[in-house]
Amino acid sequence: MAKIRGAVVVDVERCKGCVICVNACPTNVLSMSKDVNGKGYSFSYMENPEACTGCMSCSLVCPDVVITVYRMKVNE
């Protein structure tokens, strides 16, 4: 069955750790890191990448435009 898989790439150094993307993700893919970036902000990352559908919800609400979204159809 064809399935949609997605992935996001977070520009770690530009992320300000506002958590809005984590809250917006409908499939609970994103989570906040324990580490911090150069500015001292914790940043979002894909904790559960299998669940990502590439719906772009995170990137639409990201106030710093740090998220790039990829999506592809996978036949399984």
């Binding site: 992935a7 809005i20 990448p49 609400v61 710093d64």
Partner: protein, 254 residues
């Protein structure tokens, strides 16, 4: 067959990335501020319509005073509140250009009320983006004309008292009464669906300029988590609970 993340992250699978009309400079806004999303939506619409070389923006005084550093288009900085007056001049000299102003509530609804109302009344062919967060964000969270009843700010520490300080001003409803205004709407940028609706409104506004229909006034109800003293996600929840009843989302005219 399992697919690794590296298989998905390829150029041909890219569905969303930062528009090239936003510069590489990191936004000077606080974490979670709605300004960033508003900037992005406007720049995306300009890019999609292919009007980069025909668009001139006017930056205000306030948090978004440095908008010209982030928007990679022709920009002009105006004196506090005078962005609609400057935009009037630009659009009269260059009638075929797409001219927009980008203003906050302290800029547009306090010091610039006269300029705003008269530019709207004259029906200038411009777009006014009005970012309403109910507070003076840049100067340290003072009370603005749009501050809600009972809302605590640094100059109303016991909450806004309506008897002493008056009522919150609803600019979009006011300008919608004017005949020069073609399109007046109030939107938000805190959820994916709200962002999509706002983008549609922005597109409609630029099309109105193209058809020389007069002022398009887009209010974006936004958060100010530093001024409101809330975490970004909590600020968005607070906005839905308290801002939206006073500033209801939706088209008011056009």
């Amino acid at each position: 067959m399992s697919i690794s993340i590296q298989d998905i992250i390829k150029e041909e699978n890219k569905v969303f990335s930062k528009t090239k009309l936003l510069t590489d400079k990191v936004f000077s806004y606080c974490p979670g501020c709605g300004h960033g999303v508003a900037h992005r939506i406007i720049m995306e619409v300009i890019e999609e319509m292919g009007i980069v070389n025909q668009t001139i923006g006017v930056a205000p005084v306030g948090c978004s005073v440095l908008a010209y550093d982030f928007m990679d288009i022709d920009m002009q900085q105006a004196a506090h509140g005078r962005a609609p007056a400057v935009a009037t001049g630009i659009s009269r000299v260059f009638p075929d250009k797409y001219v927009f102003t980008y203003q906050g509530d302290g800029d547009l609804a306090a010091i610039g009320t006269a300029e705003t109302i008269h530019a709207c009344s004259r029906g200038e062919n411009i777009i006014i983006f009005f970012i309403n967060n109910g507070i003076y964000g840049m100067t340290g969270g003072q009370m603005a004309p749009t501050t809600l009843e009972g809302m605590k700010t640094s100059t109303s520490p016991h909450g806004r008292d309506l008897h002493q300080m008056g009522f919150p001003i609803k600019m979009t409803e006011i300008v919608a009464q004017l005949d020069g205004v073609q399109f007046a709407t109030r939107q938000a940028v805190h959820t994916p669906s709200a962002v999509r609706k706002t983008k549609k409104a922005v597109k409609k506004a630029f099309e109105n300029v193209k058809n020389k229909k007069g002022v398009s006034f887009i209010e974006i109800v936004s958060n100010c988590n530093s001024g409101w003293k809330l975490a970004p996600v909590k600020a968005n929840e607070w906005m839905e609970e308290f801002m939206f009843p006073v500033y209801p989302i939706g088209d008011i005219k056009g």
